[in-house]
């Protein structure tokens, strides 16, 4: 063990250790002693063989590793990332969680994730700051109001708290919204989803990393996968910039880069990669208690615990692997935000950024085995995949451990495209995240 193996750490046999638990008392003690906190996870040497290799150290890869260890006792696992953990979409998203989707398959799936998120802080012993402050999707025309009503009915049938509310109720929840009728796009109603909210995305990544590491999973940063070896239609190993690894199982959790990885295994994908941008303002006192989304105006906004407004929009208008922000985005965003909330016109944008999104034709993920034995995918996360991290990790671990995908992800197999059985979520996922 190379890093930060201080004396405060309990037992350290077979690469396993119990991490020191975080607690109020621990915080107090450390405040008095002012000693350093232990490293959250360790850096270990790359082995030449693992039972499972997970490519991509975002929430999906790390959650898969954690549930493989925690639920199935499979711990000879490596997570490889070409950069740092959470350096992809998992550290760049706007952290909105919800389960008010459009298809029954989608609602069931995302609702399981929301329940796992509700208990995640105590399960991982890591404060992930999940704030279930409510989520509101606005309708500015009859067509979107109809889709919202449809979603509300599908949601209720699945036991998800979700209802359509009118402009007076909207104004009560968010007084700063312009609900007058003389705007360019008057607000006609909204889908209100009380259990939705925002979370601290980095904490989720770090929490899963710490818990997986505690089970003995190896986390390798700065380790880029450059090739995947197959023989007789089976995966046999991966090549990386740090050395070759032999393994019978590879899980592709690389989101925006996922078709490049699948390509290495000879698996074609119905995926295109587009940048998605977001921006944040200077912090102000709390005034926005709900997440507000407008599909018509291509914008959504929430206020963080620190007081900043976080804005997002639709994906950039063409595919690209570039993560540069654009002035067109900032201009368009500002205009749309001001249509919704004229009162914030004096606020200043602090920064903007972009991440890569792996878009699928039906706005649903692609999960499970492929025609190459041992090569699994957990991709197609588009602009909405952070909320699915826990359920995906749980289901992919199940897939690897039991050799076939569990019921909850059965609708999301890659073969659905060749069979024409798409799971159309565009009405609930196009801007909403």
């Amino acid at each position: 063990m190379s890093v930060g193996n201080g004396s405060h750490r309990a037992g350290n046999r077979n690469g396993k250790r119990r991490p020191q638990r975080y607690s109020a008392f621990g915080l107090f003690k450390r405040g008095l002693s002012r000693s350093d906190w232990p490293r959250v996870w360790q850096e270990r040497p790359l082995k030449s063989t693992y039972d499972v290799v997970i490519i991509g150290g975002g929430v999906h890869g790390l959650a898969t590793a954690y549930y493989l260890a925690a639920n199935h006792g499979i711990t000879n696992v490596a997570v490889l990332d070409k950069g740092y953990l959470g350096g992809g979409g998992s550290g760049r998203n706007t952290a909105i969680l919800r389960s008010n989707y459009l298809t029954p398959e989608g609602v069931r799936f995302y609702d399981r994730s929301l329940h796992l998120y509700e208990n995640l802080a105590s399960e991982l012993n890591f404060n992930v700051m999940f704030s279930q402050r409510g989520h509101m999707t606005l309708a500015h025309n009859d067509n979107s109001l109809r889709t919202l009503r449809w979603r509300a009915e599908v949601n209720k049938l699945q036991g998800v708290d979700s209802e359509v509310i009118d402009p007076a109720q909207i104004k009560e929840l968010v007084p700063y919204l312009d609900t007058s009728t003389d705007t360019r796009y008057p607000i006609l109603g909204a889908l209100y989803h009380p259990p939705g909210g925002i979370i601290r995305h980095d904490a989720v990544v770090w929490g899963y990393a710490r818990a997986a590491d505690a089970h003995g999973v190896h986390l390798h940063q700065n380790t880029e996968v450059t090739g995947i070896e197959t023989a007789d239609g089976r995966v046999t190993g991966v090549r990386t910039t740090k050395g070759d690894i032999s393994t019978p199982v590879v899980v592709n959790c690389t989101a925006g880069w996922s078709s490049l990885i699948s390509d290495m295994a000879g698996v074609d994908m119905p995926v295109t990669t587009s940048p998605l941008q977001a921006a944040v303002t200077e912090p102000v006192k709390p005034f926005l208690g709900t997440v507000v989304v407008s599909g018509t105006l291509h914008v959504y906004v929430s206020q963080t615990d620190r007081g900043e407004l976080v804005f997002g929009a639709s994906v950039d208008p063409f595919t690209s692997y570039s993560m540069r922000g654009s002035l067109e985005f900032a201009e368009g965003l500002a205009g749309h935000v001001l249509e919704l909330m004229p009162a914030v016109s004096k606020m200043r944008l602090l920064r903007q950024w972009a991440g890569l999104c792996d878009m699928t034709p039906d706005y649903s993920p692609i999960m499970g085995p492929t025609h190459v034995d041992g090569f699994h995918v957990d991709v197609g996360w588009g602009t909405y995949g952070f909320k699915a991290g826990p359920v995906s990790g749980e289901a992919m671990a199940d897939t690897v451990a039991n050799g076939r995908p569990p019921e909850i992800i059965a609708p999301f197999g890659i073969d659905r495209f060749e069979m024409g059985q798409l799971v159309g979520e565009k009405g609930a996922a196009a801007v909403g995240h």
């Binding site: 490049l260 074609d268 063409f318 690209s320 570039s322 495209f417």
Partner: protein, 80 residues
């Protein structure tokens, strides 16, 4: 803003165009199976590098044009 080389209008801002994605060879109408049609509809190379694409000049000559673009640097080259 990136610019696209329109053969009819000259270099114009990308915001004038609609992106129609990489050029995918169309299956033979006479013999293609439903599976082949679905692959044509949904599956993409999604390459990280130079790609031949179709764009529509919505706010200009209203013609489809073909452009070669690098998907990381967003440099473009006219192809026809």
């Amino acid at each position: 803003m990136i610019q696209l080389p329109c053969p009819w209008c000259g270099p114009r801002n990308a915001s004038e165009f609609t992106h129609h994605g990489e050029v995918t060879p169309r299956p033979d109408v006479g013999t293609a199976t439903p599976e082949e049609w679905r692959r044509y509809l949904y599956f993409r190379q999604n390459a990280n590098g130079w790609v031949d694409e179709n764009w529509y000049h919505t706010a200009g000559c209203r013609r489809f044009i073909r452009v070669r673009r690098h998907t990381t640097s967003n440099e473009t080259e006219a192809t026809r």
